[in-house]
Symmetry: C2
Subunit: 479 residues, 2 copies
């Protein structure tokens, strides 16, 4: 038993040091390995399989709304990056520069894409001529690079994987509708698949994307009460179109500028999965995103018939549509239990000689460790019910955690006290002035997370300066 | 009609200028757009959808053999690239170098990965300790960069998309078995899905991968009689393991070096699809890889009930498992026919008022333009049969083309005459000396494509130098 416990004891308890707990889970669940390139991570099979599931399910939702995938170049010439003034100011300080190709110095430096607005603009300028060519609703799955000083696996890495959607529309209204549609798609995906409740809202001008007219965001709350921006959708209006000269002839044959959007979700969301659902035994994956949903662990597997029965149950469950593995390695059952828990596999099935004799198996839920003894006759049905219940319970638990960590503050002392002592979101009124955002950040380290779509007035004046309030804002400390 | 023909007339006939025909098809079928980065292509939706289908189907075949996907960094530090002597010599002259991150000069240059052997070695060194950790059968889907002087879409581009499998095994025999297994997997995929017959064989030492002990290849024959290397699989033995120090303790607790392989297939294979199956009207896609298999084109679509019927047939065919679209744009039917043919969509369904009255539709196969009038009662069944027949016919035609373009040569005059006048493969005996390969290339521009797995002796002496022959070799001009 001493050996069995080692795997688990290597995780720092969440309450002791949340940051260390996170790092331990990421490493011990074998999601990530560090590489010799500072800030770049290796996604190991267990980590990449989660990303693959996210890609498959998001991609299917995208395609239902008419999205087409494309493959864009990895490099952006320096002159192309510079075409939109705000955009280059936002990204130039954090890009990697290629200066040599083969043995020759390049005439113009190329940056490794930090995001691909400029490349899509160049493409759209070339292929959009008429209103018949609109809308263009393109997306790509790729990795991007931003030269970060401080990095943490998933949350902030020099290279990360994501999808970036880029669209061109005839009118501002069409662009706005697509921007909101994609934000809602992200929110639904987080809630329905990842069991992560989110707050939907608009970023302040200070926090919006470099070059955007409006940025919409979904914000999730981690177990430690810090916020994580989990997906964003931007309406560019015709700003990029004017900078790049992207025009189409309308039905009256008049030249018009297109209106554009972009929207993205990244491997960062795996950080949210870990920090919303994980516990002191490791990862806990919602059944709908888990690469392996059921791990069958044979007890006394050296005894006749046990491994055969385990394989038979595996096949039955696979035929019923579940993702199932058998752990028939030469480790002890206790070690296998710890490993299954560490990796967040939603359910384990224990099956030994006595179970076989009794025509039953023991099912154990990962999230609350509830045991169910099931007759093998009802195996598929019961496994399905338990996984469904677990998915719903995980969402309900995360939603209760979110709801119980949203506070209100009407004056500045109350605000500062709440930020300092109550981890979570603070709702407070804001005058719309960037100076107040800067002061609040300076005083409390909290930032404006979003102006929620669901607005209400909890006071008449700005929580910071006392001038008339314009918007309700969610504030919080964030990753 | 003049306008309808314009789309097609813009393609240069294959017989007139094959290279220009290829470029025309790539652009007019909207597979690719050029970008402002020399040698980098944009994969447009029609091109990327082919690559997506290739990825999905190859990936499913990989996973059946136990492959796990991972995500590796984009960058390789210069010192890491240099660890294996042959490897760095092969790749260093053609990589892109990152010298600055943000505004700072890097202490060590990073190259953008041209291939990732060195990164996988670093990972395996870290995560392989015991024989229990073997085999590792990892793969990644990504793009890589090689600084090319002359580029052509799909065939040779500075950046291209591919998969690269990298494995580590306990023994040379295990590595060899995996190398051959993956080559066979590629060959089966090409023949069964892409309808492209291939020659399987081993590369000569001169042509093998930088750092490999043995490279196996599949070689396909294009319509113009030139060869295209379409997939490769390498056995590294323990060469990389020794350079990187990747060891495991075996069952007797003795330290052993691992044995490694790598294998890849890239977007280059889309070039093969175009050049094996295309014709003077454009692309011809085999039904099993076509993103859209059936294009329904309404005739006199302004008349009542036509578009509704087209949509009804679309839904019926989608329900039967086919990939179907309706072209209800405001172009003329003739234009739509040309466009469907240009894009290589395997079948079109013509449906107009008279067809509806007669309870029928007209099916037209893309490859031979054969028309079938089908009763709507039998629509799904007939479409399925025709697509299946078309897939098989396309393979048979490509196989007949390959077989009829394989020649034998037993003396050097015959060899030179064949290479000069008969496009295709020339089988000839070889002494095993690199000098003869170099002389043959100098004299004829043909290169050794492979030493086929199916060896036979067509002469006793080398076709070039007359010394005793060791191997039968396929020679040919190649892309």
């Amino acid at each position: 038993m001493a050996k069995d416990k080692k795997l688990v004891e290597a995780i720092t308890p969440m309450a002791e040091d949340f940051a260390q707990w996170y790092t331990d889970v990421v490493r011990k669940a074998e999601l990530v390995n560090y590489s010799s390139i500072k800030g770049c991570m290796v996604l190991r099979p267990a980590g990449y399989a989660i990303w693959e599931n996210i890609m498959h399910q998001l991609d299917a939702r995208f395609k239902e709304t008419g999205v087409e995938n494309v493959g864009m170049p990895l490099f952006i010439p320096e002159s192309l990056l510079q075409k939109e003034k705000d955009h280059v100011e936002g990204f130039a300080p954090e890009v990697a520069w290629v200066t040599h190709g083969g043995n020759e110095k390049l005439q113009e430096r190329l940056c490794v894409r930090p995001t691909s607005e400029t490349l899509f603009c160049e493409l759209y300028k070339d292929i959009v001529q008429s209103h018949r060519d609109l809308p263009k609703v393109y997306n790509q799955w790729c990795s991007v690079v931003r030269w970060e000083k401080t990095t943490r696996p998933f949350l902030r890495t020099t290279e990360f994987w994501w999808q970036e959607g880029h669209t061109a529309h005839a009118t501002w209204e069409d662009a706005e509708a697509r921007t909101v549609q994609m934000l809602n798609l992200y929110a639904d995906f987080c809630e329905e698949v990842l069991a992560i409740p989110v707050i939907k809202g608009q970023k302040t001008d200070k926090e919006k994307f470099a070059g955007a007219e409006a940025t919409y965001t979904i914000e999730a709350l981690m177990h430690d009460g810090k916020a994580l921006q989990s997906g964003t959708s931007h309406n560019f209006g015709d700003g990029f179109a004017k900078a790049f000269g992207i025009q189409y002839s309308d039905k009256e044959n008049k030249l018009q500028y297109v209106h554009q959007t972009s929207w993205g979700m990244s491997t960062r969301i795996i950080g949210a999965l870990i920090m919303v659902h994980g516990d002191d035994s490791g990862l806990v994956l919602p059944p709908r995103i888990a690469p392996t949903q059921v791990m069958i662990i044979p007890i006394a597997q050296h005894k006749g018939g046990v491994l055969e029965k385990a394989d038979e149950l595996k096949q039955r469950l696979i035929n019923a549509g579940f993702k199932v593995k058998v752990d028939d390695s030469d480790k002890s059952p206790g070690w296998k239990f710890s490993e299954q828990e560490m990796r967040g596999i939603p359910m384990r099935v224990e099956i030994g000689p006595k179970d076989i004799e009794a025509g039953q198996a023991v099912l154990v839920r990962r999230d609350n460790r509830e045991k169910t003894i099931v007759s093998l006759d009802n195996l598929e049905e019961t496994v399905g019910q338990i996984l469904e219940t677990m998915q719903n319970d995980m969402y309900a638990r995360a939603k209760a955690h979110l709801d119980s960590h949203i506070y209100e503050a009407v004056d500045y002392d109350e605000f500062k006290d709440t930020v300092a002592n109550k981890p979570g979101f603070v709702q407070a009124m804001w005058c719309g002035d960037e100076a107040c955002e800067l002061k609040i950040k300076e005083d409390t380290t909290a930032t404006s997370r979003c102006m929620p779509f669901e607005q209400k007035a909890i006071a008449d004046t700005c929580v910071c300066c006392g001038k008339p309030a314009k918007k309700l804002v969610y504030w919080g400390k964030a990753y």
